[in-house]
C-alpha cells in the first residue's frame, strides 16, 4: 500500500500529515517512509532517523569522442532537451540540460558518444524505530529532480506500507512521486490560494488515475471554500486539523502531534482505515 501526501500549494502541512501518519502506523508494524522533496527534505527533522547508508546518484550524460564523430547531427536531432548542438561539424554538449535518456549514444552511427556519470544528488537510508526512512538530497546547482526521486523510490522493497512525502506543486517532481501510488492525500488550507492549487493537484491525480482524498489543515475559519469544492468535485474530505497555536508550536519545535497530543493517534488510525477502504474500492 503506497500513499503519497501531496498538496499543490506549499506550506499546507504535507510533512505534518506524513510524519504523524507514519509514526502512528509504526505502532502496529514496520513502515517505509520516503521524503521525496529532494530539493528541501525536512521529514528527518521530525522522525529523527539514524542514517546508516549514503549512496550517490548520478545521471549518465554524453561525452563525445572527437576522433569518431563525423558531425552528422543525428544526436542533436534526437535530443528532446537540446542538450547537444552540432555546429561547424562539431558537437557541443550542455550536460545541465541532459535528462539522461541515452538516445544520443544509442543513435550515434559511429559510436562516438559514450556516457559518463554526472552526480545529481544522494540518497540516505536510516531507521527511526520501526520506520525505515529514506530521503534524497539534490546536489546544489543541479536542476534535475525526477531521476533523484526515482532513486529514492527504488529503496522500497517488500514493504507493506509506504508513505511518500511529496514536494509542493504539481510539476514533474510531484508526478514522479505520486505515479504508481495506490492513493494520494491532498493537504490544503481554507484560503482561495489553497483551493486554487488543490484544484490543480486534483487534476494531476485524476490524470494519473490515482484516487485521492482531501485533508483540510488550519481549519476553522472559512472552511466552506474547501467543503464546497470537495462536494462539487465529489472528493472525500477525510480529515480536518483545527488552526491551533499549540499545533503550530509543536511543529516549530520539530515534534509530533501524535506524541504531544496522544488523542491524535486514533484520528490518524481512522484516517488510515479510510484510505485503505477507499484505495481498495
Amino acid at each position: 500500500m503506497r500513499v503519497a501526501i501531496a498538496s499543490g500549494k506549499g506550506g499546507t502541512g504535507k510533512t505534518t500529515i506524513a510524519v504523524n501518519l507514519a509514526k502512528t502506523l509504526a505502532e502496529d508494524g514496520p513502515v517505509r517512509f520516503l521524503d521525496c522533496d529532494v530539493e528541501e527534505p525536512n521529514a528527518h527533522l521530525f522522525l529523527r532517523p539514524t542514517f546508516q547508508e549514503r549512496k550517490g546518484v548520478a545521471l549518465l550524460v554524453p561525452q563525445i569522442d572527437a576522433e569518431k564523430c563525423t558531425g552528422c547531427g543525428l544526436c542533436s536531432r534526437v535530443c528532446a532537451f537540446h542538450a547537444l548542438a552540432v555546429v561547424g561539424g562539431k558537437v557541443i554538449t550542455f550536460p545541465e540540460l541532459c535528462h539522461g535518456c541515452g538516445g544520443c549514444s544509442l543513435f550515434c552511427p559511429t559510436g562516438a558518444i559514450h556516457e559518463i556519470p554526472k552526480k545529481i544528488g544522494v540518497v540516505e537510508n536510516g531507521l527511526a524505530g520501526k520506520i525505515s526512512f529514506s530521503h534524497g538530497r539534490l546536489e546544489v546547482g543541479s536542476a534535475l529532480v525526477p531521476p533523484l526521486i526515482k532513486a529514492v523510490k527504488k529503496q522500497v522493497h517488500a514493504d507493506r506500507i509506504v508513505i511518500l512525502d511529496a514536494p509542493p506543486g504539481t510539476s514533474c517532481p510531484v508526478v514522479a512521486t505520486v505515479a504508481g501510488c495506490d492513493y494520494c492525500l491532498l493537504v490544503t488550507e481554507p484560503t482561495p490560494f489553497g483551493r486554487h492549487d488543490l484544484d490543480l493537484a486534483v487534476g494531476m491525480a485524476r490524470e494519473l488515475g490515482i484516487p485521492c482524498g482531501v485533508v483540510l489543515n488550519r481549519a476553522g475559519d472559512g472552511d466552506e471554500i474547501i467543503e464546497d469544492y470537495c462536494a462539487r468535485e465529489g472528493l472525500p474530505l477525510l480529515l480536518k486539523i483545527p488552526f491551533d497555536r499549540r499545533y503550530a508550536a509543536c511543529y516549530a519545535a520539530g515534534n509530533l502531534l501524535v506524541e504531544e497530543f496522544p488523542s491524535w493517534q486514533e484520528v490518524f488510525k481512522d484516517l488510515w482505515r479510510e484510505i485503505e477502504r477507499r484505495a481498495g474500492a
Binding site: S76, F81, H82, A83, A85, V87, G88, K90, I92, L97
Partner: protein, 121 residues
C-alpha cells in the same frame, strides 16, 4: 552576407523581437540582393534549450550573423562554435535594424548580455 534578425512578424516592417531563443520569427536576409525569408522559430515555446535550438537552426541554414536585442549564454556559446557573429541592441522595425547593421551602427558582442531564461519572463 546572410543575416538573421529576430522578429515579431514575417516581414521587414515587423518590430524586432529583442529575445533571441524565444522570438517568434527569424527574418533571414541577404544583404547583397536585399531578398529575405521568414523562418518561424520552432523553439519559441520549448520548455528549455530554446536558444541552443534556435542557434542550431540558423547554423544549419548557413547564417553568418545574428541581429537581436539580448543573447543568453548557451545560445552565445552555440553561435560562437558555429562561427556566427552576434550584433545586439537592435530595436525598432526589422528593416530599420537591418539598415543600422549595414551602416555599422550595431555593436558586435562576444559574450552573453543577459542570463539564461531571460526570454521566459
Amino acid at each position: 552576407m546572410k543575416v538573421a534578425i529576430t522578429s515579431q512578424g514575417k516581414d521587414l516592417a515587423a518590430p524586432v523581437d529583442e529575445r533571441f531563443g524565444r522570438c517568434r520569427y527569424f527574418i533571414i536576409a541577404d544583404t547583397e540582393s536585399g531578398s529575405f525569408t521568414a523562418l518561424e522559430n520552432a523553439g519559441a515555446m520549448a520548455s528549455g534549450g530554446a536558444g541552443i535550438q534556435a542557434a542550431q537552426a540558423l547554423a544549419d541554414r548557413g547564417v553568418e550573423a545574428v541581429i537581436t536585442g539580448y543573447m543568453g549564454p548557451k545560445a552565445m556559446q552555440t553561435l560562437q562554435a558555429a562561427g556566427i557573429k552576434v550584433y545586439a541592441g537592435a530595436s525598432g522595425s526589422v528593416g530599420e535594424a537591418l539598415a543600422m547593421f549595414k551602416e555599422g551602427k550595431l555593436g558586435l558582442i562576444d559574450r552573453a548580455n543577459v542570463n539564461a531564461h531571460f526570454g521566459m519572463r
